[in-house]
Symmetry: C2
Subunit: 236 residues, 2 copies
DNA sequence: TCGGGAATGTGACGCAGACCACACCTTCTC
DNA sequence: GAGAAGGTGTGGTCTGCGTCACATTCCCGA
Protein backbone atom coordinates (compact mmCIF):
# COMPACT_ATOMS: atom_id res chain seq x y z
CA UNK A 1 0.00 0.00 0.00
CA UNK A 2 1.42 3.33 -1.01
CA UNK A 3 -0.64 5.65 1.11
CA UNK A 4 -2.20 5.52 4.51
CA UNK A 5 -5.92 6.07 4.63
CA UNK A 6 -6.96 9.44 5.94
CA UNK A 7 -9.20 7.87 8.58
CA UNK A 8 -10.02 8.95 11.15
CA UNK A 9 -11.14 12.18 9.49
CA UNK A 10 -8.78 14.87 10.66
CA UNK A 11 -11.35 17.49 9.93
CA UNK A 12 -9.96 20.30 12.01
CA UNK A 13 -6.37 20.28 10.78
CA UNK A 14 -7.57 19.95 7.18
CA UNK A 15 -10.00 22.80 7.61
CA UNK A 16 -7.35 25.04 9.07
CA UNK A 17 -5.13 24.59 6.02
CA UNK A 18 -8.04 25.06 3.63
CA UNK A 19 -8.81 28.32 5.38
CA UNK A 20 -5.41 29.63 4.28
CA UNK A 21 -6.23 29.12 0.61
CA UNK A 22 -7.89 31.96 -1.29
CA UNK A 23 -9.85 29.52 -3.41
CA UNK A 24 -11.69 28.16 -0.39
CA UNK A 25 -11.81 31.26 1.73
CA UNK A 26 -14.95 32.39 -0.08
CA UNK A 27 -16.77 29.45 1.51
CA UNK A 28 -16.61 30.88 4.99
CA UNK A 29 -15.75 28.93 8.13
CA UNK A 30 -18.77 26.65 7.93
CA UNK A 31 -18.30 25.94 4.24
CA UNK A 32 -14.67 25.08 4.84
CA UNK A 33 -15.56 22.76 7.70
CA UNK A 34 -18.09 20.89 5.59
CA UNK A 35 -15.66 20.79 2.67
CA UNK A 36 -13.05 19.21 4.88
CA UNK A 37 -15.57 16.57 5.84
CA UNK A 38 -16.51 15.94 2.22
CA UNK A 39 -13.10 14.73 1.14
CA UNK A 40 -10.29 12.50 2.23
CA UNK A 41 -6.80 13.42 3.39
CA UNK A 42 -3.89 11.13 2.61
CA UNK A 43 -0.17 11.13 3.24
CA UNK A 44 2.47 10.16 0.71
CA UNK A 45 6.17 9.52 0.98
CA UNK A 46 8.82 11.03 -1.28
CA UNK A 47 8.86 9.86 -4.86
CA UNK A 48 5.35 8.47 -4.90
CA UNK A 49 2.87 9.05 -7.66
CA UNK A 50 -0.42 10.57 -6.58
CA UNK A 51 -1.95 10.04 -9.97
CA UNK A 52 -0.79 9.15 -13.45
CA UNK A 53 -1.25 11.05 -16.64
CA UNK A 54 -4.06 9.26 -18.48
CA UNK A 55 -5.88 8.10 -15.37
CA UNK A 56 -9.55 8.95 -15.13
CA UNK A 57 -9.92 11.93 -12.84
CA UNK A 58 -12.75 12.37 -10.44
CA UNK A 59 -11.27 14.54 -7.75
CA UNK A 60 -9.74 17.90 -7.11
CA UNK A 61 -6.63 17.73 -4.93
CA UNK A 62 -5.34 20.20 -2.43
CA UNK A 63 -1.77 19.95 -1.26
CA UNK A 64 -2.09 20.51 2.47
CA UNK A 65 1.63 20.20 2.94
CA UNK A 66 4.75 19.01 1.18
CA UNK A 67 6.09 19.42 -2.30
CA UNK A 68 5.02 17.77 -5.55
CA UNK A 69 5.92 18.15 -9.21
CA UNK A 70 3.54 18.16 -12.16
CA UNK A 71 5.06 15.93 -14.81
CA UNK A 72 3.96 15.78 -18.41
CA UNK A 73 5.23 12.75 -20.30
CA UNK A 74 5.32 12.46 -24.08
CA UNK A 75 4.57 9.28 -25.97
CA UNK A 76 8.31 8.72 -26.24
CA UNK A 77 8.89 8.91 -22.53
CA UNK A 78 10.43 12.36 -22.44
CA UNK A 79 9.37 14.29 -19.38
CA UNK A 80 8.83 17.94 -18.75
CA UNK A 81 8.01 19.27 -15.31
CA UNK A 82 5.24 21.80 -15.74
CA UNK A 83 5.20 23.12 -12.19
CA UNK A 84 6.26 22.63 -8.63
CA UNK A 85 3.44 22.82 -6.13
CA UNK A 86 3.63 23.55 -2.43
CA UNK A 87 1.37 23.97 0.55
CA UNK A 88 -2.01 25.38 -0.39
CA UNK A 89 -1.74 24.67 -4.10
CA UNK A 90 -4.37 22.65 -5.89
CA UNK A 91 -4.01 20.15 -8.70
CA UNK A 92 -6.17 17.90 -10.78
CA UNK A 93 -8.47 20.74 -11.82
CA UNK A 94 -8.16 19.97 -15.49
CA UNK A 95 -9.84 16.60 -15.51
CA UNK A 96 -12.73 18.08 -13.58
CA UNK A 97 -13.56 20.58 -16.27
CA UNK A 98 -14.46 18.15 -18.97
CA UNK A 99 -14.15 14.73 -17.40
CA UNK A 100 -11.17 13.93 -19.59
CA UNK A 101 -8.22 11.87 -18.32
CA UNK A 102 -5.51 13.40 -16.20
CA UNK A 103 -3.35 15.53 -18.45
CA UNK A 104 -0.22 15.13 -16.34
CA UNK A 105 1.15 13.03 -13.48
CA UNK A 106 1.73 14.23 -9.94
CA UNK A 107 4.85 12.98 -8.17
CA UNK A 108 5.81 13.81 -4.62
CA UNK A 109 9.24 15.39 -4.25
CA UNK A 110 8.98 15.52 -0.49
CA UNK A 111 6.52 13.79 1.83
CA UNK A 112 3.11 15.22 1.08
CA UNK A 113 -0.20 15.55 2.82
CA UNK A 114 -2.98 15.70 0.29
CA UNK A 115 -6.69 16.35 0.43
CA UNK A 116 -8.93 14.90 -2.27
CA UNK A 117 -12.33 16.42 -2.93
CA UNK A 118 -14.71 14.48 -5.20
CA UNK A 119 -15.87 16.24 -8.32
CA UNK A 120 -19.55 15.90 -7.43
CA UNK A 121 -18.98 17.54 -4.07
CA UNK A 122 -17.02 20.37 -5.65
CA UNK A 123 -19.78 21.05 -8.15
CA UNK A 124 -22.29 21.19 -5.32
CA UNK A 125 -20.10 23.66 -3.48
CA UNK A 126 -19.87 25.78 -6.59
CA UNK A 127 -23.60 25.85 -6.92
CA UNK A 128 -24.02 26.91 -3.31
CA UNK A 129 -21.18 29.43 -3.48
CA UNK A 130 -20.94 31.17 -6.86
CA UNK A 131 -17.83 32.92 -5.57
CA UNK A 132 -16.04 29.59 -5.63
CA UNK A 133 -16.67 29.22 -9.34
CA UNK A 134 -15.29 32.72 -9.87
CA UNK A 135 -12.16 31.84 -7.94
CA UNK A 136 -11.84 28.69 -9.96
CA UNK A 137 -12.00 30.60 -13.21
CA UNK A 138 -9.46 33.05 -11.88
CA UNK A 139 -7.14 30.20 -11.08
CA UNK A 140 -7.50 28.76 -14.56
CA UNK A 141 -6.71 32.13 -16.03
CA UNK A 142 -3.57 32.21 -13.97
CA UNK A 143 -2.65 28.77 -15.20
CA UNK A 144 -3.09 29.77 -18.83
CA UNK A 145 -0.89 32.80 -18.28
CA UNK A 146 1.81 30.71 -16.67
CA UNK A 147 1.82 28.23 -19.52
CA UNK A 148 1.95 31.03 -22.06
CA UNK A 149 4.98 32.46 -20.31
CA UNK A 150 6.62 29.07 -20.17
CA UNK A 151 6.19 28.61 -23.92
CA UNK A 152 7.59 32.08 -24.59
CA UNK A 153 10.54 31.38 -22.32
CA UNK A 154 11.34 28.16 -24.14
CA UNK A 155 11.20 30.01 -27.43
CA UNK A 156 13.22 33.08 -26.51
CA UNK A 157 15.40 32.57 -23.46
CA UNK A 158 18.60 30.60 -23.52
CA UNK A 159 19.22 27.94 -20.93
CA UNK A 160 20.94 30.30 -18.52
CA UNK A 161 18.09 32.75 -18.72
CA UNK A 162 15.48 30.11 -18.11
CA UNK A 163 17.44 28.79 -15.16
CA UNK A 164 17.82 32.24 -13.63
CA UNK A 165 14.11 32.86 -14.01
CA UNK A 166 13.27 29.48 -12.55
CA UNK A 167 15.45 30.05 -9.50
CA UNK A 168 13.73 33.37 -8.89
CA UNK A 169 10.34 31.74 -9.16
CA UNK A 170 11.30 28.88 -6.86
CA UNK A 171 12.71 31.31 -4.30
CA UNK A 172 9.55 33.38 -4.48
CA UNK A 173 7.16 30.49 -4.15
CA UNK A 174 8.97 27.89 -2.09
CA UNK A 175 12.06 29.56 -0.73
CA UNK A 176 12.85 31.31 2.49
CA UNK A 177 12.69 35.04 2.81
CA UNK A 178 16.43 35.58 2.45
CA UNK A 179 16.67 34.11 -1.00
CA UNK A 180 17.62 30.67 0.16
CA UNK A 181 16.15 27.93 -1.97
CA UNK A 182 16.48 24.75 -0.02
CA UNK A 183 14.42 22.06 -1.66
CA UNK A 184 15.48 18.65 -0.47
CA UNK A 185 14.54 16.09 -3.04
CA UNK A 186 14.71 18.51 -5.94
CA UNK A 187 17.56 17.31 -8.10
CA UNK A 188 19.35 18.96 -10.98
CA UNK A 189 17.48 16.56 -13.22
CA UNK A 190 14.27 18.08 -11.94
CA UNK A 191 15.58 21.55 -12.65
CA UNK A 192 16.48 20.39 -16.13
CA UNK A 193 12.99 19.00 -16.71
CA UNK A 194 11.50 22.27 -15.51
CA UNK A 195 13.29 24.33 -18.13
CA UNK A 196 13.46 21.80 -20.93
CA UNK A 197 17.20 21.18 -20.88
CA UNK A 198 19.67 18.39 -20.28
CA UNK A 199 20.99 17.73 -16.81
CA UNK A 200 24.68 18.38 -17.62
CA UNK A 201 23.77 21.69 -19.21
CA UNK A 202 21.91 22.74 -16.06
CA UNK A 203 24.91 21.83 -13.98
CA UNK A 204 27.17 23.99 -16.11
CA UNK A 205 24.71 26.88 -16.04
CA UNK A 206 24.61 26.66 -12.26
CA UNK A 207 28.39 26.70 -12.11
CA UNK A 208 28.41 29.71 -14.37
CA UNK A 209 26.02 31.56 -12.06
CA UNK A 210 28.16 30.60 -9.09
CA UNK A 211 31.34 31.83 -10.75
CA UNK A 212 29.71 35.18 -11.38
CA UNK A 213 28.56 35.37 -7.75
CA UNK A 214 24.87 35.46 -8.65
CA UNK A 215 24.15 32.41 -6.52
CA UNK A 216 25.93 30.08 -4.19
CA UNK A 217 25.40 26.36 -3.94
CA UNK A 218 26.04 24.23 -0.89
CA UNK A 219 24.88 20.72 -1.39
CA UNK A 220 21.27 20.95 -2.46
CA UNK A 221 20.77 24.40 -1.07
CA UNK A 222 20.93 27.30 -3.48
CA UNK A 223 21.20 30.86 -2.22
CA UNK A 224 20.38 33.78 -4.47
CA UNK A 225 23.09 36.37 -3.95
CA UNK A 226 22.26 38.93 -6.63
CA UNK A 227 18.57 39.00 -7.36
CA UNK A 228 18.82 42.03 -9.63
CA UNK A 229 21.38 40.38 -11.87
CA UNK A 230 19.37 37.17 -11.92
CA UNK A 231 16.27 39.07 -12.98
CA UNK A 232 18.23 40.66 -15.76
CA UNK A 233 19.61 37.31 -16.84
CA UNK A 234 16.04 35.96 -16.90
CA UNK A 235 14.88 38.80 -19.13
CA UNK A 236 12.87 40.61 -16.46
CA UNK B 1 -10.81 54.72 -38.28
CA UNK B 2 -9.78 51.14 -38.54
CA UNK B 3 -13.09 49.36 -38.42
CA UNK B 4 -16.56 50.02 -39.67
CA UNK B 5 -19.27 50.14 -37.06
CA UNK B 6 -21.48 47.09 -36.99
CA UNK B 7 -24.64 49.14 -37.32
CA UNK B 8 -27.22 48.40 -38.46
CA UNK B 9 -27.37 45.29 -36.28
CA UNK B 10 -27.09 42.34 -38.59
CA UNK B 11 -28.77 40.13 -36.04
CA UNK B 12 -29.82 37.26 -38.27
CA UNK B 13 -26.50 36.59 -40.00
CA UNK B 14 -24.67 36.84 -36.69
CA UNK B 15 -27.12 34.47 -35.02
CA UNK B 16 -26.74 31.94 -37.79
CA UNK B 17 -22.96 31.79 -37.29
CA UNK B 18 -23.30 31.64 -33.51
CA UNK B 19 -25.63 28.70 -33.95
CA UNK B 20 -22.75 26.74 -35.52
CA UNK B 21 -20.59 27.13 -32.42
CA UNK B 22 -20.82 24.47 -29.71
CA UNK B 23 -20.21 27.06 -27.01
CA UNK B 24 -23.40 28.92 -27.87
CA UNK B 25 -25.52 26.04 -29.04
CA UNK B 26 -26.54 25.34 -25.47
CA UNK B 27 -28.42 28.63 -25.47
CA UNK B 28 -31.07 27.45 -27.89
CA UNK B 29 -32.40 29.45 -30.83
CA UNK B 30 -33.90 32.18 -28.69
CA UNK B 31 -30.85 32.55 -26.52
CA UNK B 32 -28.67 32.82 -29.58
CA UNK B 33 -30.92 35.46 -31.09
CA UNK B 34 -30.79 37.57 -27.96
CA UNK B 35 -27.05 37.05 -27.67
CA UNK B 36 -26.61 38.32 -31.20
CA UNK B 37 -28.55 41.42 -30.24
CA UNK B 38 -26.48 41.93 -27.09
CA UNK B 39 -23.19 42.47 -28.88
CA UNK B 40 -21.71 44.28 -31.85
CA UNK B 41 -20.32 42.87 -35.07
CA UNK B 42 -17.40 44.57 -36.77
CA UNK B 43 -15.32 43.98 -39.87
CA UNK B 44 -11.56 44.30 -40.05
CA UNK B 45 -9.13 44.32 -42.93
CA UNK B 46 -6.00 42.23 -43.15
CA UNK B 47 -3.21 43.13 -40.78
CA UNK B 48 -5.32 45.08 -38.34
CA UNK B 49 -5.11 44.74 -34.61
CA UNK B 50 -8.36 43.86 -32.90
CA UNK B 51 -6.88 44.39 -29.48
CA UNK B 52 -3.46 44.83 -27.96
CA UNK B 53 -1.80 42.80 -25.26
CA UNK B 54 -2.08 44.90 -22.12
CA UNK B 55 -5.35 46.58 -23.07
CA UNK B 56 -8.15 46.36 -20.54
CA UNK B 57 -10.55 43.67 -21.66
CA UNK B 58 -14.26 43.90 -21.27
CA UNK B 59 -15.55 41.70 -24.07
CA UNK B 60 -15.55 38.18 -25.35
CA UNK B 61 -14.96 38.00 -29.08
CA UNK B 62 -16.32 35.52 -31.58
CA UNK B 63 -14.67 35.25 -34.96
CA UNK B 64 -17.66 35.02 -37.27
CA UNK B 65 -15.44 34.74 -40.30
CA UNK B 66 -11.85 35.27 -41.36
CA UNK B 67 -8.50 34.38 -39.88
CA UNK B 68 -6.62 35.93 -36.97
CA UNK B 69 -3.48 35.16 -35.06
CA UNK B 70 -2.97 35.33 -31.32
CA UNK B 71 0.34 37.09 -30.72
CA UNK B 72 2.22 37.16 -27.45
CA UNK B 73 4.95 39.78 -27.26
CA UNK B 74 7.77 39.78 -24.72
CA UNK B 75 9.16 42.92 -23.12
CA UNK B 76 11.97 42.82 -25.65
CA UNK B 77 9.67 42.78 -28.64
CA UNK B 78 10.06 39.13 -29.53
CA UNK B 79 6.83 37.63 -30.75
CA UNK B 80 5.39 34.18 -30.53
CA UNK B 81 2.14 33.26 -32.25
CA UNK B 82 0.15 31.22 -29.78
CA UNK B 83 -2.64 30.18 -32.11
CA UNK B 84 -4.40 30.73 -35.40
CA UNK B 85 -8.14 31.20 -35.09
CA UNK B 86 -10.78 30.70 -37.76
CA UNK B 87 -14.53 30.90 -38.17
CA UNK B 88 -16.38 30.03 -35.01
CA UNK B 89 -13.43 30.39 -32.68
CA UNK B 90 -13.57 32.70 -29.70
CA UNK B 91 -10.90 34.88 -28.19
CA UNK B 92 -10.50 37.33 -25.36
CA UNK B 93 -11.80 34.85 -22.80
CA UNK B 94 -8.81 35.30 -20.52
CA UNK B 95 -9.37 38.88 -19.54
CA UNK B 96 -12.97 38.05 -18.71
CA UNK B 97 -12.03 35.54 -16.07
CA UNK B 98 -10.32 37.90 -13.73
CA UNK B 99 -10.62 41.30 -15.29
CA UNK B 100 -6.90 41.42 -15.95
CA UNK B 101 -5.44 43.04 -19.06
CA UNK B 102 -5.38 41.23 -22.39
CA UNK B 103 -2.68 38.61 -22.21
CA UNK B 104 -2.01 38.65 -25.95
CA UNK B 105 -2.76 40.69 -29.04
CA UNK B 106 -5.12 39.65 -31.83
CA UNK B 107 -4.05 40.49 -35.38
CA UNK B 108 -6.09 39.77 -38.48
CA UNK B 109 -4.30 37.67 -41.07
CA UNK B 110 -7.19 37.85 -43.49
CA UNK B 111 -10.24 40.14 -43.48
CA UNK B 112 -12.26 39.24 -40.42
CA UNK B 113 -15.81 39.60 -39.23
CA UNK B 114 -15.89 39.75 -35.49
CA UNK B 115 -18.62 39.74 -32.87
CA UNK B 116 -17.96 41.36 -29.50
CA UNK B 117 -20.05 40.39 -26.50
CA UNK B 118 -19.71 42.52 -23.36
CA UNK B 119 -18.55 40.75 -20.23
CA UNK B 120 -21.63 41.76 -18.26
CA UNK B 121 -23.93 40.29 -20.86
CA UNK B 122 -21.93 37.07 -20.98
CA UNK B 123 -22.13 36.69 -17.22
CA UNK B 124 -25.90 37.18 -17.38
CA UNK B 125 -26.13 34.51 -20.04
CA UNK B 126 -24.08 32.16 -17.90
CA UNK B 127 -26.41 32.69 -14.99
CA UNK B 128 -29.45 31.98 -17.12
CA UNK B 129 -27.83 29.01 -18.85
CA UNK B 130 -25.53 27.03 -16.58
CA UNK B 131 -24.65 24.88 -19.57
CA UNK B 132 -22.83 27.85 -21.03
CA UNK B 133 -20.52 28.05 -18.02
CA UNK B 134 -19.79 24.34 -18.40
CA UNK B 135 -18.89 24.81 -22.05
CA UNK B 136 -16.72 27.71 -21.09
CA UNK B 137 -14.80 25.63 -18.60
CA UNK B 138 -14.45 22.89 -21.17
CA UNK B 139 -12.98 25.37 -23.58
CA UNK B 140 -10.47 26.60 -21.01
CA UNK B 141 -9.44 23.06 -20.32
CA UNK B 142 -8.81 22.59 -23.99
CA UNK B 143 -6.72 25.75 -24.02
CA UNK B 144 -4.59 24.57 -21.12
CA UNK B 145 -3.98 21.25 -22.85
CA UNK B 146 -2.96 22.98 -26.05
CA UNK B 147 -0.51 25.21 -24.26
CA UNK B 148 0.94 22.24 -22.40
CA UNK B 149 1.48 20.45 -25.68
CA UNK B 150 3.06 23.52 -27.18
CA UNK B 151 5.53 23.76 -24.31
CA UNK B 152 6.39 20.07 -24.62
CA UNK B 153 6.87 20.43 -28.36
CA UNK B 154 9.25 23.34 -27.88
CA UNK B 155 11.21 21.30 -25.38
CA UNK B 156 11.40 18.00 -27.25
CA UNK B 157 10.77 18.36 -30.96
CA UNK B 158 13.32 19.75 -33.36
CA UNK B 159 12.35 22.47 -35.77
CA UNK B 160 11.38 20.05 -38.53
CA UNK B 161 9.16 18.09 -36.18
CA UNK B 162 7.41 21.18 -34.90
CA UNK B 163 6.83 22.36 -38.44
CA UNK B 164 5.41 19.02 -39.54
CA UNK B 165 3.08 18.99 -36.57
CA UNK B 166 2.04 22.57 -37.22
CA UNK B 167 1.21 21.86 -40.85
CA UNK B 168 -0.95 18.92 -39.82
CA UNK B 169 -2.77 21.09 -37.31
CA UNK B 170 -3.30 23.90 -39.79
CA UNK B 171 -4.58 21.48 -42.40
CA UNK B 172 -6.93 19.95 -39.88
CA UNK B 173 -8.31 23.21 -38.59
CA UNK B 174 -8.13 25.61 -41.49
CA UNK B 175 -7.27 23.57 -44.55
CA UNK B 176 -9.36 21.94 -47.23
CA UNK B 177 -10.32 18.31 -47.09
CA UNK B 178 -7.62 17.15 -49.49
CA UNK B 179 -4.73 18.31 -47.36
CA UNK B 180 -4.36 21.62 -49.10
CA UNK B 181 -3.36 24.40 -46.74
CA UNK B 182 -3.99 27.64 -48.55
CA UNK B 183 -3.76 30.48 -46.09
CA UNK B 184 -3.31 33.75 -47.92
CA UNK B 185 -1.68 36.24 -45.63
CA UNK B 186 0.11 33.59 -43.58
CA UNK B 187 3.80 34.18 -44.19
CA UNK B 188 6.80 32.05 -43.37
CA UNK B 189 7.54 34.54 -40.63
CA UNK B 190 4.17 33.65 -39.12
CA UNK B 191 4.99 29.96 -39.33
CA UNK B 192 8.30 30.70 -37.64
CA UNK B 193 6.59 32.61 -34.84
CA UNK B 194 4.16 29.71 -34.38
CA UNK B 195 6.93 27.21 -33.71
CA UNK B 196 9.47 29.49 -32.07
CA UNK B 197 12.06 29.48 -34.80
CA UNK B 198 13.77 31.86 -37.20
CA UNK B 199 12.27 32.55 -40.59
CA UNK B 200 15.22 31.25 -42.62
CA UNK B 201 15.20 28.03 -40.63
CA UNK B 202 11.51 27.54 -41.43
CA UNK B 203 12.20 28.08 -45.08
CA UNK B 204 14.89 25.43 -45.06
CA UNK B 205 12.71 23.01 -43.15
CA UNK B 206 9.95 23.50 -45.71
CA UNK B 207 12.40 22.84 -48.55
CA UNK B 208 13.53 19.72 -46.78
CA UNK B 209 9.95 18.44 -46.53
CA UNK B 210 9.43 19.25 -50.21
CA UNK B 211 12.56 17.39 -51.24
CA UNK B 212 11.34 14.33 -49.41
CA UNK B 213 7.93 14.60 -51.09
CA UNK B 214 6.06 15.04 -47.83
CA UNK B 215 4.57 18.32 -48.99
CA UNK B 216 4.49 20.50 -52.06
CA UNK B 217 4.59 24.26 -52.10
CA UNK B 218 3.22 26.51 -54.80
CA UNK B 219 3.41 30.12 -53.85
CA UNK B 220 1.68 30.41 -50.50
CA UNK B 221 -0.26 27.17 -50.89
CA UNK B 222 1.06 24.12 -49.14
CA UNK B 223 -0.25 20.66 -49.97
CA UNK B 224 0.30 17.77 -47.62
CA UNK B 225 1.34 14.81 -49.74
CA UNK B 226 2.25 12.24 -47.12
CA UNK B 227 0.28 12.72 -43.94
CA UNK B 228 1.57 9.52 -42.34
CA UNK B 229 5.18 10.55 -42.76
CA UNK B 230 4.39 14.04 -41.49
CA UNK B 231 2.74 12.61 -38.41
CA UNK B 232 5.79 10.50 -37.76
CA UNK B 233 8.07 13.49 -38.25
CA UNK B 234 5.92 15.41 -35.76
CA UNK B 235 6.26 12.66 -33.17
CA UNK B 236 2.67 11.39 -33.45
C1' DT C 1 28.71 2.19 10.00
C1' DC C 2 29.37 0.78 5.93
C1' DG C 3 28.15 -0.11 1.08
C1' DG C 4 26.03 0.90 -3.13
C1' DG C 5 23.15 3.51 -6.06
C1' DA C 6 22.05 7.99 -7.16
C1' DA C 7 23.33 12.72 -7.87
C1' DT C 8 26.94 15.87 -9.26
C1' DG C 9 30.95 17.89 -11.78
C1' DT C 10 33.64 17.96 -16.17
C1' DG C 11 35.65 16.85 -20.59
C1' DA C 12 35.22 16.02 -25.72
C1' DC C 13 32.58 16.11 -29.88
C1' DG C 14 29.18 17.29 -33.20
C1' DC C 15 25.44 19.62 -35.10
C1' DA C 16 21.02 22.16 -35.25
C1' DG C 17 19.72 26.37 -35.72
C1' DA C 18 20.48 31.48 -34.73
C1' DC C 19 22.28 35.46 -36.94
C1' DC C 20 23.85 38.24 -40.82
C1' DA C 21 23.84 39.30 -45.58
C1' DC C 22 22.06 39.50 -49.97
C1' DA C 23 19.72 38.43 -54.47
C1' DC C 24 15.38 37.35 -56.51
C1' DC C 25 10.65 37.51 -56.88
C1' DT C 26 5.96 38.61 -55.69
C1' DT C 27 2.30 41.52 -54.41
C1' DC C 28 0.29 45.74 -53.08
C1' DT C 29 -0.09 50.90 -53.94
C1' DC C 30 -0.54 55.00 -56.34
C1' DG D 1 1.84 49.73 -65.12
C1' DA D 2 5.91 51.29 -62.57
C1' DG D 3 7.98 51.63 -58.28
C1' DA D 4 8.24 50.36 -53.58
C1' DA D 5 7.79 47.19 -49.94
C1' DG D 6 7.69 43.03 -48.33
C1' DG D 7 8.21 37.95 -48.74
C1' DT D 8 11.20 34.09 -50.19
C1' DG D 9 15.36 31.25 -51.23
C1' DT D 10 20.33 30.47 -49.99
C1' DG D 11 24.98 30.96 -48.46
C1' DG D 12 28.49 31.42 -44.55
C1' DT D 13 29.74 31.59 -39.80
C1' DC D 14 29.49 30.75 -35.04
C1' DT D 15 27.87 28.99 -30.73
C1' DG D 16 24.79 26.89 -27.41
C1' DC D 17 23.65 22.84 -25.97
C1' DG D 18 22.60 17.84 -26.65
C1' DT D 19 24.89 13.46 -26.21
C1' DC D 20 28.21 10.22 -24.52
C1' DA D 21 31.48 9.12 -21.16
C1' DC D 22 33.51 9.03 -16.83
C1' DA D 23 35.32 10.32 -12.11
C1' DT D 24 33.82 11.98 -7.71
C1' DT D 25 30.84 12.79 -4.04
C1' DC D 26 26.76 12.41 -1.54
C1' DC D 27 23.21 10.22 0.89
C1' DC D 28 20.00 6.70 2.24
C1' DG D 29 19.02 2.21 3.86
C1' DA D 30 20.25 -2.19 5.77
Amino acid sequence: MNARSGLPPEVEPVASVLAEIPLFRVLGADGIRSTARAGVARRYRSGQIIFHQGDPGESLFVLLDGLVKVVFTTEHGDEIVLNMLGRGDTFGEMALLDGSPRSASIVTVRPAWVFALPRARLLELMREHPGLADEFLRMLGHMVRRLTDQAADLAFLDLGGRLAKLLLQLADKHGQADGVVDLPGLTQSDLAALIGASRPAVNRALQSLVSRNLISVQGRTITLLDVAALRKRGGL
